[in-house]
Amino acid sequence: MYMHDEFDRTLIAERVAEFRDQVHRRLSGELSEDEFKLLRLLNGVYLQLHAYMLRIAIPYGSLSSEQLRMLAQVARRYDRGYGHFTTRQNIQFHWIKLEDLPDAMADLARVGLHGMQTSGNSVRNVTTDQWAGVAPDEVEDPRVWAEVVRQHVTLHPEFTFMPRKFKIAVGAAAHDRAALRIHDLALRLHRNAAGDVGFEVMVGGGLGRTPFLAKTIKPFLGKRDVLSYVEAVLRVYNQYGRRDNIYKARIKILVHELGAEAFAREVEQEWLAIRDGALALDPAAVAAIAARFRYPAYERLADDPVELMKARAANRRFATWHGNSVARHRMPGYAIVTLSLKAEGETPGDATADQIDAIADLADRYSSGEIRVGHEQNLVLPHVRQQDLHALWRALDVIGPTSGWCRTSSPARASTIAASPMRARSRSRRN
């Protein structure tokens, strides 16, 4: 988990107070809708067909059980008792009243959650691999770099009103679990031939009406230069991106029209002018951010404990679930467990307040109180002892059939639910 500091807490609290005043002035008629719309879009508030929607960022997809319970409370108190986990590590409440928004935001702020830059033409929530920090195949924990970028672009005055929204993802694993190439800007941590760790920089990816895979414009970028390079990409986009046509405003169109090589030259020129300035990263500053990521006090355990092997051999349903939903952890004796939020016939990513509370309880009991949200709209328990897997599965089996969530009651049903990361990925592409 990342531990917010006083700066973050103050920033979020001040934003809630500011938004409360803006909502009050809108409701009193002091602000017109044209004036208010700009303000609400800085705070993740949309007006959709039937109601207001509040989008809350879950930076790098990491939540504590305390935060999860607060999301459930907000869903119950201010919405219709459910939330929707999105493909970009956010959660949305779709039926919230304008007059309730300040109170809901204040509740969320108490646990460090907010909707800043989850809408509008700003740099959106920086996302990463939902297995970050626990996956055995990653170079290092990409969340540290996602946090470095998040801190830099949060309320950055130059990038608050860009041509269009801007989505950044960071990955560090051999297997891409962060959907890097469908992002406006993607940073892939890897080790080069000399043994140094740095970033491959990709730009111009996206889905929607004009899908593109991002192109690599910098095969290897040193860690020191990551902020200056991100800044250079944003500046080039901010300068040349189209503002006359919303359908052609994303960076993917600019990269496509200009060509990746020409775009890279523009970025390089901008970058060379700023790379040795204030944005050159001090390793001590990065280390300070890294130190705020807390890992559980892992026990010294061995892989494949006897009780797990026995349970797999004795129970085919458990073995099926284990094969579908459990992945290797970087620490021996631990596992990563994926919980599907794609029950048959339900909207992918939807979870009721009761389900969210149940997951928070399971996280406390089996995963050191931590939950992850992935772009596949599933939840993850990232620190489960392998010896606890059977007990966890039994707990899920009890909750599943009654809640319509995470059903594991039969092999046939397990095969229809996106219980495994692989199945979840294939479904996610269709959604």
């Binding site: 008629g29 809708e33 007006l47 067909l49 207001y52 219709r80 009243k97 304008l98 909207t347 939807d350």
Partner: protein, 111 residues
């Protein structure tokens, strides 16, 4: 030359004036006595440009609403029905079943 603001609204059939309610975003319709209703059946239906312009002007003066516009309707025995898919969905609610609900929205009512 006529400015765009003075251009006459083109109305070729029955229309209503609709918006979202400021407080909660609910879909609402303008009534003939200058109030708002969530029931399309109770909305004021006009068929001429001048009447639609007047209805819209009165609605837009109300600060408690958002995104006000003229929407087409069809007239049936049971009153006005939405005139296009967007308005059908707005009137009937979500097309998917929400968590905790027994069934999807009422789209079939207008289908």
């Amino acid at each position: 030359m006529t400015s765009p603001l003075q251009q006459k609204m083109k109305v070729t059939g029955p229309v209503v004036v609709t918006a979202n309610r400021l407080a909660d975003g609910a879909v609402i319709y303008r009534t003939s006595d200058g109030r708002w209703t969530t029931e399309l059946a109770a909305a004021a239906v006009v068929t001429r440009s001048e009447a639609a312009t007047a209805l819209l002007a009165g609605a837009r003066a109300d600060l408690r609403i958002v995104d006000c516009y003229v929407a087409p309707v069809e007239l049936g025995a049971a009153g006005p029905r939405p005139g296009n898919l967007r308005e059908r969905i707005r009137a009937a609610g979500p097309t998917i079943r929400l968590p905790g609900e027994a069934e999807a929205g009422k789209l079939h009512v207008y289908a």
